[in-house]
């Protein structure tokens, strides 16, 4: 169906070709997954299939790309529109009209299909994607998962033979991602559509793939074979390699069926005793303490947090003494009780109650993951912690201050937020200028920010434009800018969106170091693997309310949607990451 014949793509101003001599043949009706680290040309390869590369993006393509016999050299994207459906990384950038039904019909209108056919296909697609009750809704009011489904639906209605998707699930919460993948599965099975998709979150998609194409090597083969040596792989594969299972399991179910022996070996051990397990010090502290903090409530997996327990005066006094005695404190820290204290916090936006009666306590050195579906209120909660949103009811105190009334210049030395789109934080046109501005903003010594950048992002030239950095590098730069003020509390909103495994591993390492230095970290994320690796505590938010708050192991193991693969495989034992298992063996 799709043939690449010695294809190389070189963009203008680029020294090296982005793709080099790619040869590949994708047979009809297969779901092919494109994997590889960031920047190896996955998006370029996908664009070449739909003709957008090079007709739209510019650059030079050598070799030959044919889709169902049509050469993209002679067929611009619009002449391939009936054959190839393309959905880019950001579904909202894909929309041309303003309501769901019109969007589904748009492609067919352009192709000039008869009205009766269009009507029938729109109805079919609404059912196929479960969008029937959203048909009249304006696109702007849809959630992320719904948008992604509408975007897929909008390219499905002309009945393309090939569907090309660039990171279809990276912005979605786990259950919305499953919806989208179930739809793709159905298309491949029922309609024989050929699907080519790129995705960083392999743990979500690898089991659906018929073939995996590994870039930059350009090797294609069955998923299990490729995963055996791929540098990017999901935790289930890592566990399989560790335990020496052959053939490698790709799904949690396969792995679980083979995990009996591993579970026996692990039976007597516990991840809490690990040297680099989450926060052994503090957990031990809390156990010795007469007034245990809320998160230590036994079996609190589904419990309501902050129900008046803990953090009394005695505890904070004790805590202060301990902190002074042993823990290194970031400058500017005034250790009086919990760093974040939200009580009965409520936020209304117009008539929508975005948050209701939120109680949240975060102590120094603690890492908390906020999870929940798209639109549950995670970002709103983070915004109210940095004072971007004033609470409607209840109180928020961050390091003893009320964020929304504190002067921003002072606040950045108490709390820093890396927003969902790190680019929002960056204005300057070079890394050096950005760093100088950050030093000025935070009243830090000149060079502070630059030193942090060097640490987080070694080898970035001073005159690089922030826009030319990769997603992961930009995140690191934004993190450095935020850390220049040395805030004891660090907030991150969806930090792993668009990061490959290597960039994610670097981020995890940095954040662990920060937590060990006594920084408190709160991250809102859909990435269960990230939460498992980093967080001491998980708070699940649904519909603006806290529905679960407790130690990561307890919360994620008890809720299938939010549990990492290792936990699913080794349940009921409380193992969260391959790293923990590796250390225990």
């Amino acid at each position: 169906m799709i043939r690449f014949d010695k294809v190389s793509v070189t963009y203008e101003d680029a020294a090296e070709p982005t793709l080099r001599d790619v040869d590949l043949t994708v047979p009809e009706g297969e779901l092919v997954l494109l994997v590889g680290p960031s920047g190896v040309g996955k998006s370029t390869l996908l664009g070449a299939v739909s003709g957008l590369v090079p007709h739209f993006t510019g650059g030079i393509l050598t070799g030959r790309v044919t889709v169902d016999g049509r050469d993209t050299r002679t067929h611009p994207p619009r002449e391939l529109a009936d054959l190839v459906g393309t959905v880019g990384q950001d579904p909202s950038a894909h929309f041309v009209t303003d309501t769901v039904e019109d969007e589904l019909a748009y492609g067919m209108e352009s192709l000039g299909l008869p009205p009766a056919v269009m009507r029938r296909r729109v109805e079919e697609t609404l059912d196929l994607l479960g969008l029937a009750e959203l048909r009249d809704r304006p696109l702007a009011t849809l959630s992320g998962g719904q948008r992604q489904r509408v975007a897929i639906g909008s390219v499905l209605t002309p009945h393309p033979k090939v569907l090309v998707l660039d990171e279809p699930t990276s912005a979605l919460d786990p259950s919305a991602a499953e919806d989208v993948l179930a739809v793709l599965q159905r298309l491949v099975h029922d309609l024989g559509t050929t699907v080519l998709l790129a995705e960083h979150r392999l743990e979500r998609v690898v089991q659906y793939a018929d073939q995996v194409l590994l870039l930059p090597d350009g090797v294609m083969g069955p998923p299990a074979d490729i995963m055996a040596f791929s540098p990017v792989h999901p935790p289930v594969v890592a566990l399989g390699r560790l335990a020496g299972w052959a053939p490698l399991p790709l799904t949690v179910r396969d792995a679980r069926r083979r995990s009996g022996e591993l579970r026996e070996r692990l039976a007597g051990r516990s991840p809490a005793g690990l040297p680099d397990g989450p926060r052994p010090l503090l957990v031990a502290d809390a156990r010795r303490n007469p007034a245990p903090p809320a998160f230590e409530t036994p079996g609190s997996a589904g419990g309501v947090p902050g129900s008046g327990k803990g953090w009394g005066g005695g505890f904070s006094l004790f805590r202060r003494r301990r902190t002074r005695a042993t823990e290194p404190t970031p400058t500017g820290l005034t250790p009086t009780g919990p760093l974040v204290l939200a009580e009965g916090l409520g936020v209304r936006r117009g008539r929508v109650e975005a948050l209701r009666r939120i109680d949240l306590h975060v102590a120094q050195g603690e890492t908390v993951a906020l999870m929940g579906r798209n639109g549950a209120g995670k970002s709103t909660l983070l915004s109210s912690l940095v004072g971007m949103i004033a609470p409607t009811t209840g109180t928020v105190r961050v390091a003893g201050r009320t964020p929304h009334t504190t002067d921003p210049r002072e606040l950045i030395r108490q709390v820093g937020l890396v927003p969902q789109e790190p680019r929002d934080l960056l204005y300057a046109d070079t890394v050096a200028a950005e760093c100088a501005a950050a030093d000025g903003d935070a009243n830090a010594e000149p060079g502070t920010c630059r030193a942090l950048v060097e640490e987080l992002l070694p080898g970035v030239a001073d005159d690089t434009h922030p826009r030319d950095l990769s997603e992961g590098q930009r995140l690191a730069l934004a993190l450095a800018v935020v850390l220049t003020g040395r805030p004891p509390l660090l907030l991150l909103d969806e930090p792993t969106r668009g990061l490959d495994y290597a960039a994610k591993a670097r981020l995890v390492a940095h954040l662990r170091t920060l937590a060990a230095d006594g920084h408190a970290i709160v991250l809102a994320t859909h990435d269960v693997e990230l939460a498992a690796e980093l967080a001491h505590r998980v708070v699940i938010i649904a519909d603006g309310e806290v529905v679960a708050d407790g130690p990561t192991a307890e919360v994620v193991v008890s809720s299938p949607a939010f549990s990492p693969q290792v936990a699913k495989i080794l349940a009921p034992q409380h193992w969260l990451t391959v790293e923990q298992v590796e250390a225990a063996l």
């Binding site: 739209f56 529109a81 000039g112 009205p115």
Partner: protein, 411 residues
């Protein structure tokens, strides 16, 4: 289905009544009682059968009908300076908007247009105060200090005496303009602009898409500005002030540019711009017809609005429209596009547009039988009176509030 529905109807009605008493607003009450009535259409009481149905895609009123109605009211407004009649027109437009608008983003534009109208009135009065007015008046109110101007600026006056007559004239004039604006605002609030563009003839389709994309762009840019301004707070900078906005100007433009490229790529990949080949002669005829027609429309509407040219205005407008339509029809051959569920021009669309046209025609006619009542005298000053028949004819414009499909209540 139908037995279940008839069983549930009484309870549905009672909950609706309960809700409508809870929301103490006259429009909410009117809307919810009429929805309750519309659920009864399965029973064959004639009254229920003709009551306005709940709006959905299938029975959506043609966007053009709303525009014809609103332009009818606007033409009527241009024919009078009587503040009572103008007030009545604004009231009629406002009532229909309140009864039939949805909660879509564009529906909020009515308020903006009302504010714009009030601003126009204020501006007109201020100009009259400062620059004086050719209206001779005897009721001196006060005298502003006059700015001495050189000889070559003869005829221009800044400051000076202010008479009651000149202020009243400015008020009447401003009110007329404001009413025109509010009528346009009503059309904007009631008809989705995107749907109106969808009903454009095929030849204008591509221009229409450009406008739709541009319209979704503005809100996105506003959202970007808001987001980046709050992000400034994260860097410890102030969020207000001109400098803050200037600093984020470049990132906002960059974002807008990137988004427009993404949309263009998506449109291209989805077949935008596929065209059919047509002979050159057809293309030329199309151009001549369209251009000539549009010129005719411009001249005709000028004649219609300018009060002197009512005689040649209408026929010219009609001929121009016909030529333009023929041109567009011919131009449509070039596009392959088909249309998905276009809005139908049904009986209700005829009634809505007809009521607007009726208001316009009745007001033009009223100018011949009661010119004095429609243009209350300024010199000498006299209190405007409410002429019965012109007022009654304006009330015809309320018809859409009863016949147009009722928008769904938001949940």
């Amino acid at each position: 289905m139908s037995p279940a529905r008839s069983r549930s109807t009484p309870s549905a009605r009672s909950t609706r009544t309960a809700r409508s008493t809870a929301t103490a607003g006259s429009t909410a009450t009117a809307r919810s009682t009429s929805t309750a009535r519309s659920t009864d259409t399965s029973r064959l009481s004639p009254r229920a059968r003709f009551a306005a149905p709940e709006a959905s895609r299938a029975n959506a009123l043609h966007a053009g009908a709303w525009w014809v109605w609103a332009l009818g009211l606007a033409v009527a407004a241009s024919r009078t300076t009587n503040p009572l009649l103008l007030g009545l027109l604004v009231g009629v437009a406002g009532y229909v908007v309140a009864a039939r608008r949805t909660d879509a983003p564009w529906a909020r534009s009515y308020g903006a247009f009302v504010k714009l109208g009030l601003f126009v009135v204020a501006l007109r009065v201020v100009f009259s105060l400062l620059l004086g007015s050719p209206i001779p008046g005897t009721h001196m109110l006060f005298t502003l200090p006059e700015v001495p101007l050189p000889d070559w600026a003869q005829g221009v006056r800044i400051g000076g005496r202010v008479t009651a007559e000149q202020l009243v004239f400015a008020l009447y004039d401003g009110a007329k303009l404001a009413t025109l604006l509010i009528c346009v605002g009503a059309a904007n609030a009631l008809a989705s602009p995107a749907r109106l563009l969808k009903s454009l003839p095929g030849a204008l389709y591509e221009a229409g898409v450009a406008v739709v994309v541009a319209m979704t762009f503005a809100p996105n840019m506003v959202a970007d500005v808001a987001r980046l301004r709050t992000a400034r707070r994260l860097r410890g900078r102030t969020t207000g002030g001109v400098r803050a906005v200037l600093r984020i100007g470049l990132p906002v433009l960059e974002g807008a540019l990137e988004r427009s490229i993404a949309v263009a790529a998506s449109m291209d990949a989805r077949g935008y711009g596929r065209t059919a080949r047509v002979p050159a002669s057809v293309r030329r005829t199309t151009n001549v017809l369209t251009l000539g027609g549009l010129l005719g429309v411009c001249a005709g509407s000028y004649g219609l609005l300018a009060a002197e040219g009512a005689g040649y205005g209408l026929p010219l407008l009609g001929a121009g429209l016909l030529a333009a339509l023929a041109g567009l029809r011919l131009g449509g051959r070039r596009t392959l596009r088909t249309r998905y569920r276009p809005d139908r021009w049904g009986a209700r669309a005829w009634l809505v547009s007809g009521s607007g046209v009726a208001v316009a025609v009745l007001m033009i006619w009223a100018n011949s039988y009661a010119p004095d009542a429609l243009h209350p005298g300024v010199v000498p000053l006299e209190a405007p009176e409410l002429p019965l028949w012109p007022a009654a004819s304006i009330l015809v414009g309320l018809l859409p509030a009863f016949v147009a499909p009722v928008p769904k209540e938001s949940t």
